[in-house]
């Protein structure tokens, strides 16, 4: 019974014009015009100049292709990304295997310039192209009982030399609480710089959750499962003392092995200065309310 009704409405039809315009302003802010004033002062604004194509595509963590930063750029071409389908299952009305091209034909792709903060204390600014995860979930119809969303990366050992050694328990897994998944900032990226996602950046589609450490933004997704239990996540399974389920960017909660108070923007050369890390990676105004009443030191 899927696709019996095609959505031809726009945001104009469902959202009051003022709210819609306000949202547009937020988008413009993301694009580097007003975000400094919105979230974190001049520092944040200065840093919203996107990194270069080279920065974004040659300095990657994608352990399925090797643990060195250059390994993914070198090896990820081995991965077949077409055809590609995403299994959406669990607590949804329309479970099934969704072909990537079919998904793309339903979604409206927009540009989002986000700060990206790695748990290793480096950062970039990336111009993503993609659609909101909420729109994809709506396609499958989330049931009321669902509380969490679990994601899984492709695991294909013959195309992924890094999986020969078990650095992590493959396949790579991540998860979000449903309200985090439905948040308008949460993006399913399908491109960068207006081009298709390069394989090393998680082609053909990946998650981007800009207020969380980069490893939450799972790449090359093949499965999305709606569930009512907190799903197991790869880094948390590997070392729960160091990597929590939430993993929100937080300068006050340090990683057991290094401080998270500062970060280094990639691309500044040999003499790049560190800069302070901001709460929720500068998206505090947008997402802090999701965690009202939670002890962020405990739920790190």
């Amino acid at each position: 019974m899927a696709y019996r009704w095609t959505n031809d409405l726009t945001h104009d039809d469902v959202t009051p014009k003022s709210a819609y315009l306000n949202r547009r302003q937020i988008m413009a802010g993301m694009a580097g015009l007003g975000l400094g004033a919105m979230a974190g002062g001049a520092q944040a604004q200065d840093t919203l100049e996107p990194n270069s194509w080279e920065d974004v595509t040659t300095y990657c963590n994608f352990y399925e292709f090797g643990t060195r930063k250059g390994d993914p750029a070198e090896n990820a071409h081995l991965m077949t990304t077409s055809p590609w389908s995403v299994t959406i299952d669990g607590m949804v009305d329309r479970p099934g295997e969704y072909d990537f091209q079919d998904i793309m034909s339903e979604m409206t792709v927009e540009e989002r310039i986000y700060r990206f903060r790695c748990v290793e204390a480096w950062s970039m600014v990336v111009p993503w192209n993609g659609f909101e995860l909420a729109d994809l979930l709506a396609m499958a119809g989330v049931q009321d009982s669902a509380k969490y969303v679990a994601f899984e990366t492709l695991y294909r050992p013959d195309e992924m030399p890094g999986t020969a050694y078990r650095v992590l328990d493959w396949p790579y897994r991540e998860g979000l609480r449903l309200d985090e998944a439905m948040h308008p900032l949460t993006l399913m990226a399908t491109g960068i710089f207006g081009k298709d996602l390069p394989n090393q950046n998680g082609a053909p589609l990946r998650l981007v959750v800009p207020w969380k450490y980069g490893f939450k933004s799972i790449k090359s997704i093949v499965r999305i499962t709606l569930t009512d239990k907190e799903p197991p996540t790869s880094w948390n399974m590997s070392n729960s003392r160091e990597y929590g389920f939430y993993s929100n960017v937080n300068p006050e909660v340090s990683h057991p092995r290094w401080s998270q108070a500062t970060e280094r923007r990639i691309g500044g050369g040999l003499f790049a200065k560190r800069q302070p890390t901001t709460m929720f990676n500068g998206y505090e105004d947008e997402v802090a309310s999701l965690y009202d009443g939670m002890d962020l030191r405990k739920s790190f």
Partner: protein
């Protein structure tokens, strides 16, 4: 064959080792400046120096077993290898202090609070007296104490390898290989192993 190799090695002056050994330091720095180390040259340079130091540590620990088990004599170069190792550990530390962490209070906090940095620093501090006594005058002056003091290299080797194992994310293969090699080289020095395997070599020579 082995005798010919040893004779050739004897003719290589140690200053050649010092010269060749120093070259990578400015070369890596130049690569970092010009982008050849990638888009994050600070970490890359730090890792290059650290990795080379660890490799030199392995070489210095291999010299004695190579002589006792294989009959290849590199003893003449051991001081040069040890001092070069100390030189690259110093470069590694300097990059970490000046280019990487930059902030003094964070440096102090890291040394105290982060076990892998504490271990790395302990290794560096232990190397200081060894580097300072790596000269003929100290050997004469210290007598049998010198040999005892320089056995600290065994501890330094382990500290260096453990530092590497602990700093990577997850359980990665490369640092574990270094740790295994260093433990192996130390195991070759255990009294039982040494006497049993060195006998045939000595007999061959005689």
């Amino acid at each position: 064959m082995r005798d010919r190799l040893n004779q050739t090695l004897r003719r290589v002056p140690t200053w050649v080792i010092y010269m060749l050994g120093m070259l990578p330091a400015p070369w890596f720095f130049y690569q970092g400046l010009t982008g050849a180390l990638g888009v994050e040259p600070i970490k890359a340079l730090e890792h290059k120096y650290g990795e080379l130091a660890l490799q030199l540590l392995v070489v210095s620990l291999a010299i004695t077993p190579m002589r006792t088990h294989l009959g290849i004599n590199l003893l003449k170069f051991r001081r040069a290898v040890g001092l070069l190792c100390f030189f690259y550990v110093s470069c590694h530390l300097l990059v970490w202090l000046v280019l990487d962490v930059q902030l003094l209070d964070q440096i102090v906090a890291d040394i105290i609070k982060r076990p892998y940095i504490t271990i790395g620093m302990a290794g560096f501090v232990l190397m200081l007296p060894l580097a300072l006594t790596s000269n003929n005058w100290s050997i004469r002056r210290l007598g049998p104490m010198w040999r005892k003091l320089h056995k600290a290299t065994y501890v330094i080797g382990l500290l260096g390898a453990v530092h590497f194992v602990m700093l990577v994310k997850g359980v990665q293969l490369e640092p574990l290989i270094y740790l295994a090699v260093i433990i192996g080289l130390l195991a070759l020095r255990l009294p039982g192993r040494r006497s049993s395997t060195t006998t045939p070599v000595r007999r061959q020579r005689a």
